[in-house]
């Protein structure tokens, strides 16, 4: 599995697409839960993955992923220098922007250059030192340090923008020209209703990669209570539920079906390991034993539970280490570890989080009183960023793609609050983190990542309550969902990989 990840020489594979009937659908409507901003890389909202995925339909990246791994996209082949610092990408010929201009190496170089001044909010390109056009169809990157995640997390995530449009724009964040969403992807932005958070994309008839099998793609913002109902009333074709009971709801319906993605969403306790008593290893372990994570997961997802892996990386993903200590529910063991002492711990959580109410009695049982503060996201992120917490419940995605996030969470490299909140001082872990980031040999890297998971499982700087699947309810007459290897881009469990919308 992992071997495919860093196949650095010419991969030359062609994508395998679900071999179902590829009939054209006139219109597919996708319900999402928030407006995602103007679909340009400079203006898209950083809230939720809805924006990044929408952008992937309009823009292209250098590489992409199918069910089995990384595949060539705008770049037909690529190579890396021995020191791991130099990458060169050979671009395919014949790709064109929506306005007909050809996609060139200059566009690629310009894009990454522009992101140094106006960062792409979904992925940092900070590791790139310089990028230049090496030949007519070749772009050369120079990195600041070796970075194994480069192909998947940067080349496969960061959209390429047209130089001829953005070159003359002084302030891309405020630019409102009609051509601001011109990309090279399978769909063109036809309409954006800002007030209702609705998008209308039409097929790019001249798509370089193949025929688009969906003529029109719409994305709506739908209030939470109505999401499944709108599907049933036929107003949308794809909607998301984190509640597994949609499966029973649609059981026996041959048109409305449910597609389960790999468990790439994670619900976990970030622990401030600098705050007593949580600096004690035994207390953290006691918490892990005291929580019946199986029951919590079953109650909240109403489906088969996937209790959290102590090594963070979810099962069913390429980098998961299956042989770790897993802390099955054991209240006696927890009490033993606490040695009869009683503690009171503060937990911050989102107001919509239901888990604290289940956790409190379980912890009370072993002598830990949970003092829960449920505050809104921005407040929570602030507290996390300041390290002003003991326990914090967070739920997020982004654990399916390249595992370098394990290092980033704890290295303080990100201002992303989830990362800062995960305070963990462990020399070996930090060293392994640096080593795996620079390791270009997949097998070597795999061992390092497995060892990192062992340390996490032993030390428990974070306790994963459970892994969540996304349950996508969809109308099978118009849409064929697709599972992507390790999630779309950097681990986004969406079913609408653009490969399922084109016939290549």
């Amino acid at each position: 599995m992992a071997g495919a990840l860093t196949a650095l020489a010419v991969p030359g594979r062609t994508p395998v697409i679900a071999a179902t009937a590829r009939e054209s659908a006139a219109l597919v409507r996708f319900a999402w839960w928030s407006d995602v901003g103007v679909p340009t890389p400079f203006q898209v909202s950083a809230v939720g993955p809805g924006g990044a995925v929408l952008l992937s339909l309009i823009y292209d990246t250098l590489t992409w992923k199918d069910e089995d791994g990384i595949i060539p996209w705008l770049a037909s082949e690529w190579g890396v220098s021995d020191d791991g610092l130099g990458y060169s990408f050979h671009l395919i010929e014949g790709a064109a922007w929506h306005d007909g201009e050809p996609v060139t190496a200059a566009d690629v170089a310009f894009s990454f250059d522009a992101y140094t001044r106006h960062p792409y909010r979904w992925m940092s390109t900070e590791v790139i030192d310089s990028v230049e056009v090496a030949a007519e169809h070749v772009v050369a990157f120079q990195l600041k340090r070796p970075y194994a995640a480069f192909i998947e997390d940067i080349a496969g995530v960061v959209p390429i923008v047209p130089r001829h449009i953005w070159e003359s724009v002084d302030d891309p964040i405020a630019y409102s020209g009609a051509d601001r969403s011109v990309g090279s992807g399978p769909f063109k932005l036809a309409d954006y209703d800002e007030s209702q958070g609705a998008y209308r994309l039409v097929a790019n008839e001249a798509y370089w990669r193949g025929r688009t099998v969906v003529q029109e793609w719409q994305q709506f913002t739908v209030p939470p209570e109505a999401r499944v109902q709108v599907l049933q009333q036929g107003e949308v074709d794809i909607t998301l539920s984190t509640d597994a009971s949609v499966r029973e709801l649609f059981g026996g319906d041959d048109r409305l079906q449910v597609f389960e993605t790999a468990p790439l969403s994670i619900v976990r306790l970030a622990i401030n390991t600098r705050r007593p008593p949580l600096d004690q290893h035994a207390v953290r372990q006691a918490i892990a034993y005291a929580l019946d994570r199986q029951l919590i997961a079953e109650t909240i997802t109403r489906g088969p539970a996937i209790p959290g892996s102590a090594g963070v990386i979810p099962p069913e993903t390429p980098w998961y280490n299956p042989s770790l200590q897993q802390y099955a529910y054991n209240a006696d063991r927890a009490r033993e570890l606490l040695g009869g002492k009683r503690y009171t711990l503060d937990l911050i959580a989102d107001p919509s989080a239901r888990e604290p109410e289940l956790m409190a009695p379980m912890l009370e049982e072993v002598g830990i009183t949970l003092n829960v503060q449920q505050v809104d996201a921005a407040t929570r992120l602030q507290l996390l960023a300041d390290g002003d917490f003991q326990l914090a419940l967070t739920s997020h995605i982004g654990v399916g793609g390249d595992p370098d996030y394990l290092r980033r969470w704890y290295s303080g490299e990100e201002t992303n609050a989830f990362a800062q909140g995960s305070i963990f001082d462990n020399e070996e872990f930090a060293r392994l983190g640096e080593e795996q980031a620079a390791a270009l040999d997949p097998e070597e890297r795999r061992e390092l990542i497995f060892r990192m998971q062992e340390i996490l499982a032993e030390e428990l700087p974070t306790i994963v309550l459970y892994h969540r699947r996304f349950y996508w309810a969809y109308d099978s007459a118009v849409f064929t969902p697709m599972e992507t290897w390790g999630g779309l881009m950097n681990g986004i469990p969406f079913p609408n990989n653009k490969l399922t919308l084109i016939d290549s």
Binding site: V47, Q196, P223, V230, Q233, D350, T379, Q382, A385, W409
Partner: protein, 333 residues
């Protein structure tokens, strides 16, 4: 009268300044900041924004400057009529607000007008014969309605009429990207589409708002029944309807009008809940989202707008009251 008016205006001017300052300050006191926001309803992603990237953005939005400099810049912009640029949504704040204003204003004015008219009519009916069966019925029904919170009424309507019967759409202000066609028929189609979307939210606001008007009108009417000039009018043998129209209604105008003005002034808060339940893209929902995202420019502009609307409504009520009182003093003094 003129002196009183001047005093009134001065007072409101001072209030206006205080409101501007408060609305600048309060959002910035909130924990969190617009750039580290990144959670969407439980699927909160770990948005990997690097320190350097964040610093860039902070500088771009001038969030790294001291508060006093930000305030001066804000006041300068405000004086020029520039409300700034939203942080969460890359658009000028003015455009965002103008985009949504018609929804909230339309929804509120229609429902408030309906509530006022029906409420006054029902109240007059009830107050005409206080203690009678009709009066008791109306007062208990409106009383019961007033005992249900707005969001429950809204969800109840949604559950019954949109989910249950399927008569109305489940969300939104209109069918997005619908092709209505050109010309007059297109406009009519669009209007009817918007109407079907707004019937439930408007009905919620009417149901919630009407009881206050009924009781206000009822009590005023009941109070006026024994006023000397009404007694005289009735004694003259004028038909009841004419007495009601010519003598009672005009005298009910003041309290009803002031109440109407105040309700209308509550622009932002007034529609937040219905907008949230029905997904109507109005100002209340925008403010709610701006608050969650700590979008300072948008938040302060919305609060400013709302506070000013309230002040203007109050001012209008005060001025009208002054005039009405002066007039009535002449008429019935």
């Amino acid at each position: 009268m003129v002196a009183a008016l001047c005093r009134l205006l001065l007072r409101y001017a001072v209030l206006g300044v205080a409101v501007v300052l408060l609305n600048f300050l309060i959002p910035r006191l909130l924990p969190g900041d617009p750039l580290s926001f990144g959670s969407g309803e439980g699927t909160g992603p770990a948005v990997p924004l690097s320190g350097a990237a964040k610093a860039e953005l902070q500088a771009y939005y001038h969030l790294d400057e001291p508060l006093s400099r930000q305030l001066v810049a804000y006041l300068g912009d405000l004086a020029r009529g520039d409300l700034g640029h939203s942080i969460e949504r890359p658009a000028p704040v003015r455009d965002l607000i103008l985009d949504r204003l018609p929804w909230t204003a339309g929804l509120l004015s229609v429902s408030l007008l309906l509530a006022t008219v029906t409420g006054t009519a029902l109240g007059l009916l009830a107050g005409w014969a206080p203690g009678r069966r009709l009066d008791r019925l109306l007062v208990s029904v409106t009383g019961a309605l007033a005992a249900i919170p707005e969001f429950l009424v809204a969800i109840g309507f949604l559950l019954v009429f949109a989910v249950g019967f399927g008569w109305f759409p489940l969300f939104g202000g209109e069918s997005v990207f619908a092709d209505y066609g050109d010309g007059r028929t297109g406009a009519v189609r669009r209007a009817s589409n918007i109407a079907t979307h707004l019937i439930l939210p408007a009905a919620t606001l009417v149901v919630v708002g009407v009881s206050a008007f009924v009781l206000l009108a009822r009590d005023t009417a009941a109070g006026l029944r024994h006023a000397p000039w009404i007694v005289v009018a009735r004694a003259k043998g004028l038909p009841a309807r004419q007495v009601a129209w010519r003598h009672v209604l005009p005298n009910m105008a003041l309290p009803i009008l002031s109440f109407f003005g105040l309700r209308f002034g509550a622009l932002l808060g007034g529609a937040l809940v219905v907008e949230r339940v029905f997904g109507v893209p109005g100002l209340g929902l925008l403010a709610y989202q701006a608050l969650r995202a700590r979008d300072y420019p948008l938040l302060q502009a919305l609060f400013l707008l709302s506070s000013l609307a309230m002040l203007v409504a109050n001012l209008a009520v005060d001025v009208i009251s002054l005039r009405l009182l002066a007039r009535r003093g002449v008429l019935h003094g």
